[in-house]
């Protein structure tokens, strides 16, 4: 498989803090790669750096072979990168419909994708006129993912989709993200290793701002010592 995204040795500062000290990662077309690591390892900053929200000062990021480092977030989004930030980042004062319409990159995007979105997340159809702030945590997360599906994206960056959600909602989200793979490539940050191992074909472990290891998820799940060492779970 050819890589849709190549991150090569990026360094990112937030203020005076050197958060990413050399992160590399590859996402293959049509696959799901999971970024793993303990709290504060730099997973979210990696996604934000790819998205151009906290631009790296060194290193390179290639989308389908085209350099995107140094570009502004809105330009990167227009190049086909969808971002689902952590903490169910929806617009609380806008209705579900307004949230989805806002994600249109060209007129008619939402109408084109509506059937697929409502098939993945049937709840959203029922709640279409409600402000986003009044949805439950799970519904907000579904809306956040659904929003990234409105325009035609090549790559989705999804940050901690299962955070703070009930198990039944997590299962629903897993099923939805699994259905997405094949249609769109995904780089996923996930703390919950059970979820990560179900979804990912490949993984990259970030440890204290460095990419420490990468490989096939099927190999990682067999290596309990490695999981214990880098992720602190058994």
């Amino acid at each position: 498989m050819t890589p849709i995204l190549e991150v090569r040795d990026i360094h990112t500062f937030i203020g005076q803090f050197h958060i990413l000290e050399g992160v590399s990662a590859t996402v293959h077309t049509g696959g799901i790669t999971v970024l793993l690591g303990r709290n504060g390892a730099g997973k979210t900053t990696t996604l934000r750096s790819i998205m151009g929200l906290t631009p790296p000062t060194r290193g390179s990021i290639l989308l389908d072979g085209t350099p995107i480092h140094g570009k502004q977030a809105h330009t990167i989004a227009q190049m086909g990168v969808g971002y689902v930030p952590e903490h169910r980042a929806i617009f609380r004062s806008l209705t579900v419909l307004e949230n989805l319409r806002l994600a249109e990159r060209k007129k008619g995007d939402f109408a084109h994708q509506a059937d697929f979105i409502f098939e993945l997340f049937p709840d959203l159809k029922r709640l279409i006129e409600l402000p986003g702030g009044n949805l439950s945590g799970g519904q907000q997360q579904m809306l956040a993912v659904a929003r990234a599906l409105v325009p035609e994206n090549r790559l989705l960056l999804i940050d901690e989709p299962s955070e703070g959600l009930a198990p039944v909602i997590i299962e629903q989200l897993i099923a939805a993200i699994q259905r997405l793979s094949g249609q769109v490539s995904v780089l996923l940050v996930e703390q919950n290793f059970r979820v990560a191992s179900k979804l990912g074909q490949n993984y990259v472990i970030i440890d204290s701002g460095h990419s420490a290891l990468d490989g096939r998820m099927a190999d990682l799940v067999k290596d309990q010592a490695l999981i214990q060492r880098y992720l602190g779970v058994a």
Partner: protein
């Protein structure tokens, strides 16, 4: 016989908008209602071949015109602050600039007065838009307090410039002696009353349409989280520029009306009070709501009118409100913020939503803008 019947859609629209329509009718008839109650003419008093602007109806028209000007200013500030989340400390810049442009056109050019009025008004509004775009382009990349401080600095710069420019008679400013008779508030107050009423209604409708448009949704998205809006593909700088441009132009409209009403142009138009007042009025009325600035600006202005010249007798001690007006205003502001933490309209909406709460019914956000 064919009977004309209103469609259900028309009846629904009428029912939903009954209160604004009644208010509109009241404001249109206001000069005549006050005239009938106080036995005064809304057109003033005939003196020879001229009309003299005397009487209760004319006086109350002035009070309402002042309120309309403040409402337009507060609504324009709310577009920027309440709906887009950009706080500016230099809003008076636009208010004063358009006033000066109009004044200069009327007093310092030799063209026909009516033509000078229209050209001056158009130039003033356009210049406000251009100024807003330039300031925004230079500074909107700065976030939060840095942008606010920059706008304050630019407004103060203009204030100092006009306070010292001899052409505009520095701190004294200059009077406007050339105004078309049909608009001159000292010859035909009622015409100017209706023009101001039209301006306030058009501003309200324009802001409502803009905020409810797709661009308005982006404004609100920026207010909630700019990074998030950017990562959806929106060049947020462009939308913030659009918002500051419209806010500046509308503040310019308020400045034009102020200059025509007072028939005087001076550096006080660029003073910090024309920035702080709309900010307070917006906060008290309800940030990010459509009617909040209307209630905030109207309410504070009427308090000012009713209380400023009042005297309170406390056990034989007479307190002149005029002497403690600024202090009293401060107390009113503190109380309003404590009692109405989301502004009058915002708190009312939350209270209403709680009263009629349905399991899936929204509890409005602090700045939901739904009214």
């Amino acid at each position: 016989m064919i009977q004309k019947q209103n469609s259900p859609i028309q009846r629904g629209w009428l029912r939903r908008n009954a209160l604004p329509l009644l208010l509109f009718a009241f404001l249109v008839l206001f000069p005549f209602i006050v005239g009938a109650i106080t036995d005064s003419s809304p057109y003033g008093v005939v003196r020879g071949d001229r009309m003299i602007m005397r009487g209760e109806s004319v006086r109350w028209q002035s009070v309402l015109i002042e309120a309309y000007i403040l409402i337009i200013l507060a609504m324009s500030y709310n577009l920027l602050f309440g709906f887009t989340g950009v706080i500016s400390f230099g809003h008076a810049l636009f208010f004063g600039t358009s006033g000066y442009v109009l004044g200069l056109m009327l007093e310092y050019t030799a063209i026909d007065t009516t033509l000078a009025l229209f050209v001056g008004a158009a130039l003033g509004i356009v210049l406000c838009g251009v100024l807003a775009l330039v300031i925004g382009f230079v500074t909107l990349r700065l976030k939060g307090v840095y942008f606010a401080i920059f706008t304050l600095a630019v407004a103060e710069m203009f204030y100092i410039f006009f306070s010292r420019w001899q052409l505009t008679r520095a701190e004294d400013g200059f009077a406007i002696t050339e105004l078309p008779a049909w608009l001159d508030p000292s010859q035909s107050r009622i015409n100017f009353y209706y023009l101001s009423l039209a301006a306030v209604i058009l501003t309200f409708v324009f802001i409502r349409r803009l905020v409810n448009s797709p661009s308005g949704a982006v404004f609100k998205a920026i207010r909630e989280n700019e990074d998030r809006a950017q990562s959806m593909g929106y060049n947020t700088l462009n939308y913030k520029l659009l918002s500051i441009m419209f806010a500046g132009m509308l503040a310019g409209v308020a400045g034009l009306l102020q200059v025509i009403l007072n028939k005087k142009v001076g550096p006080e138009l660029l003073g910090v009070s024309y920035t702080v007042d709309p900010l307070l009025m917006t906060i008290i009325g309800g940030i990010g709501t459509f009617t909040g600035p209307v209630i905030g600006a109207g309410g504070l202005h009427f308090l000012d009118v009713f209380l400023r010249d009042a005297q309170i007798n406390l056990g034989g001690v007479v307190i002149d409100i005029a002497n403690i007006w600024a202090l009293l205003l401060g107390v009113i502001f503190i109380l309003a913020v404590i009692v109405f933490p989301f502004g009058i309209v915002g708190t009312w909406q939350r209270w209403q939503a709680r009263r009629h709460r349905h399991p899936e019914k929204p509890l409005p956000d602090a700045a939901a803008g739904q009214d």
